[in-house]
């Protein structure tokens, strides 16, 4: 240990070795040798069953969150919908979880697993709610916890929401290591894993994702109990893809095959996620396209060899909303429904508000999460911060919003719109990324089948994309 070369290149070259020790999963057994791997086997063998997870989560007070009907938001949406349109809007109040978001579900299984394997502590690389969730679960389990967060720009100015995350992680007794902007956070993360021998509580392990399945499952059961039917659409705020993947798997495990899975992200087009300057010019730190699109089109960019979050397998639609629209709906949630909740859940709520107007009155749309709110994590500090950073605040047509330059509040709630992101485009990018990352000129039957499943498309679609890329399918 003492004589280890800790230079950037040396540590990065030890990545696989460090990861293997820190996660306790042998991913090799699920590999095929090509670009495909056995996803379902990985979920089965390296994860936990739904029943096991329900019991792990209930022992830490996670899950069984309330389902609330948004009667006033529904009434507002119906004012702008054509006659007979305007689905009933519900939300699942995930803010009721111990650390204030659905991330507690992921953290509960990760920390349980770490403790079972005998690790003394856990480390998570995250600037968001997941850090709070891991810190909270580690506190309950009596494990040590380090949260590594990208927090400040080069002037040590921090996004208010991330500053709040630092506070809350420290409140739960965790050590918070803060970094300036850049993907080399991963290097510091590896150094810490090597130094401490702690467990990598990655967001993207099979058990982490399986932890979210209970959310989808519970949701369906609650609707069946209360209304005797399944919801028509589930709206899911999408960033790294675990929320979509876990929820959708849970919905399917409950047998709700007809329920449509709809992702939603805040549109941050044009802002570079690794840019020191852009870092503090965004008003949302997750649930945005800056994570949502890269992770959908290449899930295996994550901090584990194989990402268990594979959103393209599950998304039926993917909608984008504007920052100004989400702030507007956050206000509506407070003054019309009497509940204050944090930014990420309100992203899919904004999309639901618009989408409900296209659906029949007797249909049901459900937003599967809320998160806690407070200092830093609230429209007021975010808008003040945006103003300090020279962002113009306007009322008008949300379509004129330019991320990093202005925030446009809709001048009327009827201006909040459904905008579909073309999933076929995402699927094409995914296939390109897979081919490029593995440097393939030809692929076999197994890889071909894998690409179909991983994009939830069909033979013809994948064959067309591959032939455009000049890749042969061997049979």
């Amino acid at each position: 240990m003492v004589n280890r070369d800790m230079s950037y290149d040396a540590v990065m070259s030890r990545k696989n070795e460090i990861m293997k020790r820190a996660i306790g999963i042998d991913y090799d057994i699920f590999e095929s040798g090509g670009l495909g791997f056995d996803y379902e086997r990985m979920m089965r063998e390296a994860g936990y069953t739904l029943e096991e997870i329900q019991s792990i989560q209930s022992s830490t007070g996670v899950g069984n969150t309330p389902l609330l009907e948004m009667k006033n938001l529904t009434a507002l949406a119906r004012k702008f919908a054509p006659k007979g349109k305007g689905a009933r809007i519900f939300i699942k109040d995930e803010a009721a979880n111990p650390s204030g978001s659905f991330k507690a579900r992921r953290a509960a299984t990760a920390v349980y697993h770490a403790k079972k394997l005998g690790y003394k502590g856990v480390i998570a690389a995250t600037s968001g709610n997941y850090g709070a969730a891991v810190a909270s679960q580690a506190a309950m389990a009596g494990l040590k916890c380090i949260v590594v967060q990208e927090c400040y720009d080069s002037n040590m100015v921090g996004q208010p929401e991330i500053l709040e995350k630092q506070r809350v992680c420290e409140a739960y007794g965790a050590e918070v290591v803060q970094l300036s902007v850049g993907p080399e956070l991963f290097y510091s993360f590896l150094c810490l894993l090597e130094e401490t021998g702690y467990f990598n509580a990655s967001l993207y392990t099979p058990f982490g994702i399986a932890g979210v399945e209970t959310l989808g499952y519970e949701l369906i059961m609650q609707f069946r109990e209360r209304l005797g039917r399944d919801p028509d659409k589930v709206l899911i705020t999408h960033a790294g893809g675990g929320n979509v993947t876990g929820t959708a798997r849970g919905v399917k495990k409950a047998g709700a095959e007809e329920t449509e899975i709809v992702g939603a992200s805040v549109d941050l087009t044009g802002l570079h996620m690794a840019s020191d300057r852009d870092f503090n010019r965004k008003s949302f730190t997750t649930g945005h396209t800056g994570f949502g699109i890269p992770f959908a089109t290449w899930p295996d960019r994550a901090d584990v060899p194989r990402n268990a979050a594979r959103p393209l397998r599950y998304l039926d639609r993917y909608l984008t909303v504007k920052q100004g629209e989400v702030f507007y709906i956050t206000e509506a949630l407070s003054v019309l429904e009497g509940i204050e909740r944090g930014p990420a859940g309100n992203t899919s709520l904004t999309a639901a508000f618009a989408l409900a107007q296209e659906m029949d009155e007797d249909q049901i749309i459900v937003v599967q999460e809320t998160e806690y709110t407070g200092a830093g994590k609230h429209p007021m500090p975010q808008i003040s911060f945006a103003k300090q950073n020279g962002i113009e605040i306007l009322f008008g047509d949300p379509d004129t919003e330019i991320p990093g330059q202005n925030i446009v509040f809709p001048d009327h709630p009827s201006k909040i719109k459904v905008r579909d992101f073309d999933l076929n485009k995402a699927k094409v990018s995914y296939i390109k990324n897979a081919i490029n990352n593995y440097g393939k000129k030809e692929i076999g039957e197994y890889d071909f089948e894998f690409l179909i499943k991983d994009t939830n498309s069909d033979e013809k679609f994948v064959r067309t994309v591959l032939s455009e890329l000049g890749v042969k399918v061997l049979s």
Binding site: K79, E175, Q178, S180, H378, M380, I393
Partner: protein, 103 residues
């Protein structure tokens, strides 16, 4: 103010990677600045702000760096008052429940 006593809660700062040591393919602005790190812990010796010191974090790790703050406060809050948000609130109530602003 600037004096640090052994055992005090201190935030330290490190340069992890100098600009020339940073990863390839970074945006231009990020490439020009170092990768920096901040962490808090208990000072292992007396000293003062600005000194290179060693701390012990809450997980028991020993870390060296430049002491930048003693008992650092959380600076995030609810920001300045944003009148635009109140305008939204009044509009929403008017559309749904009718009546005028200020009623």
């Amino acid at each position: 103010m600037d004096i640090i006593k052994k055992g005090d809660w201190v935030q330290i700062h490190q340069i992890v990677l100098k600009p020339e040591e940073r990863a390839a393919h970074l945006p231009e602005d990020t490439k020009k600045v170092p990768l920096e790190l901040w962490v808090k812990g208990f000072a292992l010796d007396d000293g003062k702000i600005g000194d290179e010191i060693e701390i012990k974090t809450v997980t028991g790790r020993k870390v060296k760096g430049k002491a930048i703050k003693l008992n650092p406060r959380y600076i995030h809050d609810f920001g300045d008052y944003v009148p635009e948000l109140t305008k939204i609130d009044m509009q929403l109530k008017k559309i749904l429940f009718g009546g005028d602003c200020g009623e």
